[in-house]
Symmetry: C2
């Protein structure tokens, strides 16, 4: 026993109007079509749903129940189609962004805020982790795209430069180097250096910078999180070098920051997408919002510039 949507639509219209002719006019089909559709439905469910004489149409008990049920089914169909439509238009759904903790905490909040004002029905999921994790999440499809640094760009990802994030020296305010306007990497190499963990993209870049000035760069201490580095600097154990974007994660303390020169080092943060894949509309919208922020030259923390 099956009933097509066409039959249910026809029956519901006739039952509501208690008239084949009127319902036919409303639906824009011929009266004979409805007569057949209802007769077919009745034959299929094996019960008379409408009592009709030539003058009146009225519902039987089964017909009343059938109308209620038909409206339920048709409503579910209508609502479902509308829901899918909203999803396809990017008005609902979820955007999953894989990104580094600093980006998640500092750069994205204002973007997300602007995006959700425009599209309140869209949820944004932030998947934060280190560079490797972040890229894997995009490759596996867990995330729609990533904002991250890229060491060895995997071929299956497409990249779009987003911001440049310059390294600065992180000093305690009473440190001798704090008097300078700028600090050189060679200067920094002479101080006890507090590094972040080996997995971090920041670590890769600081190691490379020290290499450029022929410094060996053996860290005095190594910490997993930036906040820990902040604690160490505040305690006077040494100095560090971090991209400007992560400075808010240091926490509060007697810090001063000085631009690092010789060389000027920055990390580029890219939008990374799976290559040759069409993006969900809602993701495109999120990227557009991000692009708008750049086009408008929205304020960024000192040391961070749109790429």
């Amino acid at each position: 026993m099956d009933a097509t949507l066409r039959q249910l639509t026809a029956y519901a219209a006739v039952a509501r109007a208690t008239s084949f002719t009127a319902a036919a006019a409303q639906l824009g089909v011929s009266q004979s079509t409805l007569s057949r559709a209802v007769a077919d439905l009745e034959r299929q469910v094996g019960a008379q749903l409408l009592e009709r004489d030539t003058r009146n149409v009225q519902l039987t008990a089964a017909g009343t129940e059938a109308l209620r049920i038909a409206e339920q089914i048709l409503g579910a169909h209508r609502a479902g189609m509308k829901e899918l439509d909203r999803f396809l238009l990017g008005e609902s759904g979820t955007v999953a962004v894989a990104t580094l903790p600093s980006v998640a905490a500092v750069l994205l909040p204002q973007v997300i805020s602007g995006f959700r004002t425009e599209r309140p029905r869209v949820a944004v999921r932030l998947l934060d982790g280190l560079e490797r994790t972040v890229l894997n999440r995009v490759l596996s499809g867990d995330a729609d795209f990533a904002i991250t640094t890229v060491g060895v760009p995997p071929e299956r990802l497409e990249h779009r430069p987003l911001v440049r994030d310059r390294f600065v020296a992180v000093l305690r305010e009473d440190h001798p180097l704090a008097d300078r306007d700028e600090v050189g990497w060679a200067d920094l190499a002479r101080e006890p250096f507090l590094a972040v963990g080996r997995d971090s993209s920041v670590r890769r870049l600081t190691d490379a910078a020290f290499g450029q000035v022929d410094a060996h760069a053996v860290p005095a201490a190594e910490a997993g999180s930036v906040a820990t580095v902040g604690g160490l600097v505040a305690a006077g154990l040494g100095v560090s070098a971090l991209p400007a974007l992560v400075l808010p994660l240091l926490g509060t303390g007697p810090f001063v920051f000085r631009p690092l020169v010789d060389p000027v080092v920055d990390r580029r943060l890219d939008i990374a997408l799976r290559a040759r894949r069409t993006l969900p509309r809602v993701t495109e919208h999120f990227l557009e919002t991000l692009e708008d922020f750049r086009a408008q030259g929205r304020d960024l923390p000192p040391g961070v510039t749109w790429a």
Copy 2:
């Protein structure tokens, strides 16, 4: 943008199996049918739902959403059809019975109890009122059938005798007539008579009985409800005559009941149905339960017998 149930079924099967061939085998259709159905659906919604190369099928973001929605719609359809089926089989729904208060209170409770044991998903509505109201409720379709007395049987109703309900004298235990085993209507006519209201079917029958013994039968008092008559009798204001079935409605009191003879009078309670109408299955089931009670000769109060 519309999607047929066939398309949704096809898509859901393919998406769940992530294989056209496997889904085709499950549904018992050819692979080409599914290939076309999914392609049509994608064209209609205007988005790719499945990524397929010759070796693998995987869902896009839109495809995941579409699967969720398709399952919702198909679930609503399946559930609705099943619900209608249950209704048509008489396993769910509502039976509306119009009847006299005495029948509702005394005869029906045990029937309803038995019926609901067999069909727990069926609700029973009791519409109690006086004879005229009861019949109107059946004629208007508010009730599926009635159990009631019938004065002038309307032609549009079909009747099936159900029980006979004998009149008995209602006396206070210290009344002189209480010594007798039986009481004659003529005896009763010599006492102050406490009658029920004019609209009642009981009143019509008591008037007729007094007429048969040439008694004038001017009531000493007249009350709307049987319970009020009970109060009057208990207070010693007079005697009454009531069908055995209504005696439980008198309430408690120092009553004695004596069979009334010369003539023996009973009222017939009929099942009244709208003529030439097919009954909802659930109503038929209720009537079958009632018939079973009669066939089994279930206990009835003294003075009440199956017709």
